[in-house]
């Protein structure tokens, strides 16, 4: 997902908990929202910072693969829609960094961790966008997979995170629909367009499945995060839901999901499907994906080249404050 393999602190049984921890867990169980100034276990705070930080980084790194096609968008309307979408993603980054700041970590600190590689962003954004059909595939599949995770997170226990998710989800469904609309045009278009559409699905299918992370049904980290309601479903549940919803959409487009084993399982009421190549996933996470260097390099470069700009604004603000103070003194 946008937050993959987030480590949580170890899980405690009710008997091991301090009275404070027990009271906290009971509030979470009752569905109450935890607000920034309230007491929370250190592990809860740390896990949330990791998860929200990674999610925020994914939003801003996620601007790059789609930003790659803005200047080449084929019509004025597509250009405007894509710009609006990429602008939304930057806005999501901003909400999430702000929400993370309520936990006592600054945006600059999080940025530094992104640039140093200490914090990750979603593996999906390390894949290239090679044709215009990829703008369709990214909106349809990538935003579609993000929605699977983010809709339940609207009910997460941490108030600022939950409210950020509510705002974000409203925009994500527009993102998915604009992507699907592009796919539809391509799939119903010329033979070349149809070929691009199928190729985009072929390249993005398994990386999209990887977005949910490896199976975590036996993971203690996930169990703790789920008890705290900062993770609402297991990775496998969300992946299954994604496949079940996406396969009929692909069929409707007349495209073929690149999985020969894909079959409807009457008994389970779900599709059976092939697992992605998890070795590839771990390589991408380690920094060896097709675009890791470009993506992180672009973010670092933007930050470094922007230093004079940020410093200039800070210096002006300080001078302006000093001038105000001086004129107040003069007036007295």
């Amino acid at each position: 997902m946008y937050a993959q393999m987030v480590k949580s602190e170890g899980m405690k049984s009710p008997e091991e908990m301090t009275p404070e921890e027990r009271a906290f867990q009971e509030r979470v169980d009752r569905g109450e929202k935890i607000e920034p100034k309230e007491w929370m276990p250190e592990g809860y705070r740390k896990t949330l910072i990791r998860q929200m930080g990674q999610h925020a980084h994914s939003e801003i790194v996620g601007q790059l693969p789609e930003g790659n096609w803005i200047t080449r968008a084929p019509t004025l309307e597509r250009k405007a829609i894509l710009l609006a979408k990429v602008q939304d993603e930057a806005g999501h980054g901003l909400y999430l960094y702000s929400a993370a700041e309520t936990l006592g970590v600054s945006r600059d600190e999080l940025m530094e961790k992104l640039h140093s590689g200490a914090m990750k962003y979603s593996s999906i954004f390390n894949y290239p966008t090679l044709t215009w059909a990829d703008m369709g595939a990214v909106g349809w599949l990538v935003d579609g997979a993000a929605i699977m995770n983010q809709v339940p997170l609207q009910r997460t226990s941490y108030g600022p995170y939950s409210r950020a998710m509510i705002r974000i989800c409203k925009e994500e469904s527009f993102h998915q629909r604009q992507g699907y609309a592009i796919m539809m045009k391509m799939a119903q278009g010329t033979p070349e367009q149809k070929e691009m559409a199928q190729d985009a699905l072929n390249r993005f299918w398994y990386p999209s499945l990887m977005m949910f992370g490896p199976s975590d049904k036996d993971s203690v980290h996930s169990a703790q995060s789920m008890a705290w309601k900062i993770k609402m479903n297991t990775n496998d549940e969300l992946r299954q839901k994604f496949v079940d919803e996406t396969v009929p959409q692909a069929t409707y487009l007349g495209l073929t999901v690149p999985d020969e084993t894909l079959t409807w399982n009457e008994e389970r009421g779900h599709y059976d499907f092939a697992e992605p190549d998890w070795d590839e996933f771990f390589e991408v996470i380690k920094g060896n994906g097709p675009c890791n260097e470009e993506r992180l390099g672009a973010r670092r470069e933007a930050w470094d080249k922007g230093a004079w700009f940020r410093d200039g604004l800070t210096a002006y603000a300080e001078k302006a404050a000093a001038r105000r103070a001086a004129s107040n003194v003069a007036a007295e």
Binding site: A80, G91, W308, Y316
Partner: protein
């Protein structure tokens, strides 16, 4: 259709028809004598927005700070929106069956009518901002005057665009002041940017037969009327920014309005028009 709602609802067609019916009647649109000048002038309006919007959109994801990234994308988005309106009207006035997209994606450089100023490469944020500010200050005065155009269609577009361009000017002038009067480095960069683009600003006010014809028809103001307004805004902002107006001529470079561009425009078009050129007739 499985779970995903269909985007292409029939409502869109109804809405478009209703919008078309609600459009003001405009005698200028069918004025045969005025057509060549009016079309050319509308292309100038649309092309300035399109090319500046293109340049600004190149920043997407690469801005110096997240808020700036959002503001730049937003500015580009506004400008592309204005392009759709201006080139849409241009296509209608031309009456040759071309669409706004045909004009944007299928004209070659010599048919583009934008100012050279807006096609200049982004450089650093200082160049990008200074170029935008100097254009915004002109764009704002021009659109303000156009809201009183004798062409109701032009006045409508101008009124819509003016709301956004007022904000563009507010933002770009504020940043020019802050960075001009920021650190030594930001000051030096802003001054260098000003020196670099200054010679391209005079083209905004250089009136030719096209400008004279639309001014005569009451569609657009005389460009010479805008110059003192622009000079006042620019003078005030540069003063506050502690920047000095370059001594070089401000009209050293022109020709864009007539289709004589810098070398840069060809590359912008090669990129922008790639899909339409590679797959003629495809629908996207």
């Amino acid at each position: 259709m499985p779970s995903l709602p269909d985007v292409a609802t029939p409502d869109v067609v109804t809405l478009a028809e209703r919008a078309a019916a609600a459009q003001s009647h405009d005698p200028h649109v069918a004025d045969v004598a005025l057509k060549p000048a009016f079309f050319d002038w509308l292309c100038r309006m649309g092309d300035n927005s399109l090319i500046l919007g293109h340049r600004i959109s190149e920043w997407c994801g690469h801005g110096p700070v997240l808020e700036e990234d959002i503001a730049l994308a937003n500015t580009a988005l506004d400008l592309i929106g204005h392009t759709q309106m201006w080139l849409g009207l241009a296509a209608e006035v031309e009456g040759a069956g071309r669409s706004a997209d045909d004009l944007a994606f299928l004209r070659d450089a010599m048919k583009f009518r934008n100012l050279k100023l807006v096609e200049l490469p982004n450089g650093d944020m200082a160049v990008t901002l200074m170029r935008e500010f100097l254009f915004d200050a002109f764009h704002f005065e021009l659109l303000t005057a156009l809201t009183k155009s004798s062409s109701p269609r032009v006045a409508e577009i101008a009124a819509k665009a003016l709301k956004e361009v007022s904000y563009h000017l507010e933002r770009s002038s504020d940043l020019v002041v802050r960075l001009g009067d920021g650190t030594e480095e930001s000051h030096t960069r802003m001054q260098a940017a000003l020196n670099k683009v200054w010679g391209y600003t005079g083209e905004m006010f250089a009136a030719d037969a096209v400008d004279a014809a639309v001014a005569e028809a009451g569609i657009a103001p005389a460009l010479s009327d805008l110059l003192p307004l622009w000079q006042r805004t620019v003078g005030e902002v540069l003063d506050e920014a502690t920047l000095s107006q370059p001594e070089q001529r401000f009209d050293a470079h022109s020709g864009g309005k007539k289709g004589r561009h810098t070398e840069h425009l060809g590359y912008i078009l090669a990129e922008m028009q790639f899909l339409q050129r590679a797959y003629p007739g495809a629908s996207w």
